[in-house]
Amino acid sequence: MIQKMRKVQIIGPRGCLDDCIKALHDAAVVHIESVEAGPQEPFFSRLPMEREKLSEKSYLDKAAERLRNLLALLEPPPSYRTLRVGGGEIRKILDDITPVEERIKLLHARKDELTEELNTVNRYERLLAGFAPIVSRLGGLKNFDIIGLTIEKTREDIAKIIEAEINRITGGSYQLYAKDLDESSIGIVLTYPRQHEPEVRYLLSGKAINEVRLPDEYADMTLINALKQMGRRRGELPRLMEGVEGELNRIANDWYGVMAGLLRAVEDSIDEIGVLTYAAQTRFAFVIEGWVPVDVFEPFKERFLTLFGDRVLVRELEVEEREVQNIPVSIKNPWFLRPFEVFLGALPPPKYGSVDPTLYVALFFPAFWGLIVGDIGYGAVIFGLSLYLRKRFRANNTFRDIFTVLAVSSVAAVFFGFLFGEFFGDLGEKLGILHPLLINRVEALQTLIVLTMGIGIGHVLLGIIIGAVNHLLKGRAKEAVAKIAYLALVVSFLVILGIMFEYLPKGLLTPGAIVLIISFILLTVFEGVLGPLEFVKAIGNIVSYVRLMAVGTASVVMALVANQIGGLSENLVVGIIVAGLIHTLNLMLSVLSPSIQSMRLHYVEFFSKFYEAGGRRYTPFKKR
């Protein structure tokens, strides 16, 4: 439910401001608001930011940036404890980690260098393999230059032209070896007397010819020495990189928790300075305002009284009408409903004073989900999986909540499985251990359509009733009457439909028609032309619940198909494997599709009747 909030004002001498902010930070219950200062509040002025605070903030901002960069350079160890760092220890620990920081940066630079070299060597691998045998044969020639070239295969004719030109330049004292390197290029190794180098280089500067250029660190070597050196380095580099990574991991093991704790402390200190921008001042006092949930207001007040005595005053302010829309929304439910709050995460928070739908979601989501899946076997498997995944992801609140909801819903699926007599489709029935207690889903389609529409009628009407009651409780008479007229219109229309399809006695026709006309007029008066449109939408919403039957039937038919195909095989093992594979696919769909359909029924059909989005989330000032 949405908690009631109180507006608090904290007033104290300016000398106590820092201690007071720290106490607020530790209390972790106040959603701090900016105090109105200026022309509206002549006694208050904005609290000026002192130069010391500004330089402190700039120092902390830089430290936070530095720590974030450092943490990004380290791989988080599999398990580490975040160090608890007090605000006063920040500078000392920052100094302590300076040598570590330098070492990390050095190791990273080394790692980058080695990675780049390995990439270069790998790039030349193709050439190494192609040229090495030829170049090693030419290795002994002194006063001769050796160069490597690659030519695109489509320009093969160039090789002959080059050879003719080299022949002319060197007077026939050259050797040229050509070899296919891959599908698209030819490698050429050319040896020629060193005195002809300028003319040869000029000749080879054409566009289609690519000289094999060596990386900088090999530039001073001859081609053969460079290639030999690259071969050696290829063997060494992975080992060197492992060494660097090993040292980085050792540093991460020792320091990651310290750095993470330090970053947290730095960010907390930045937050504490940030609060100053929300505060106001008089000549001698500071003023801070915010919102506190009702149930923690008294303990919070007591806490400040114990800490500061009568030097700091905590008092409740009266909430003005214009402020009601801006009251932050804090949702607090009993532990067993809390996992279902995950559904509100996908929507903007509800307005303060409106309805928190968590209770209704907790009641209906598992029921709808179970009705769609409706299979003991599937329910049991999903229940087991959910419990395992819930344990596996217990550190992540959202995942933990999702798997808790799924576990609860799968219990409902087992329950409906008993009613429908389904255990992996009709397997239970075939084995003679299970029979439908209520209906057979494949045969009783019409019953299911009526049943699901009935659920739709109940759910949609409940939504309208919740909306009407909420308007009444909040004293919004016009909206409440409009909602009641809306309810009466939908009910009377359904009564007339019931009479037409002979579900209800004909005697109800006249009162039904009278209520229909009166409620239609009232709705049009209060809501305008959009009122009747809403009515049409509500009827569409009710029909939409047929999806509970449609998706469920699709799932059960697929389970039957799995059993039938599995049964076609004469080999028992093959049959079980085939049926198991189809059941696995159906099981995955059974998790996804019912979840989406049930969520949609809540978000679109149900919430649209009462949910008022647009609230501000309650975010208390607390440590990270």
Partner: protein, 70 residues
């Protein structure tokens, strides 16, 4: 012959809304995918938007069933 026509009518009653739903979901899904890349926090809204056109095929299903079960 009449049986075949009834079956055809039911097929059309569910087939056309199915195509319409698919077309609408393809448009919404593509736009939704783009939106999620920019604002992952809107995932709930996108799920709702993608699921909205399904009502068409459900209504088609109900009509098809009414045709067949007459």
């Amino acid at each position: 012959m009449e049986k075949a026509l009834v079956a055809l009518a039911a097929a059309i009653a569910i087939g056309l809304p199915a195509l319409a739903t698919a077309w609408a979901q393809s448009k919404i899904g593509a736009a939704g995918g783009g939106t999620l890349a920019e604002k992952p926090e809107l995932s709930g809204t996108i799920i709702i938007l993608v699921a909205i056109p399904e009502t068409m095929v459900l209504l088609g299903f109900v009509v098809a069933y009414l045709i067949i079960s007459r």
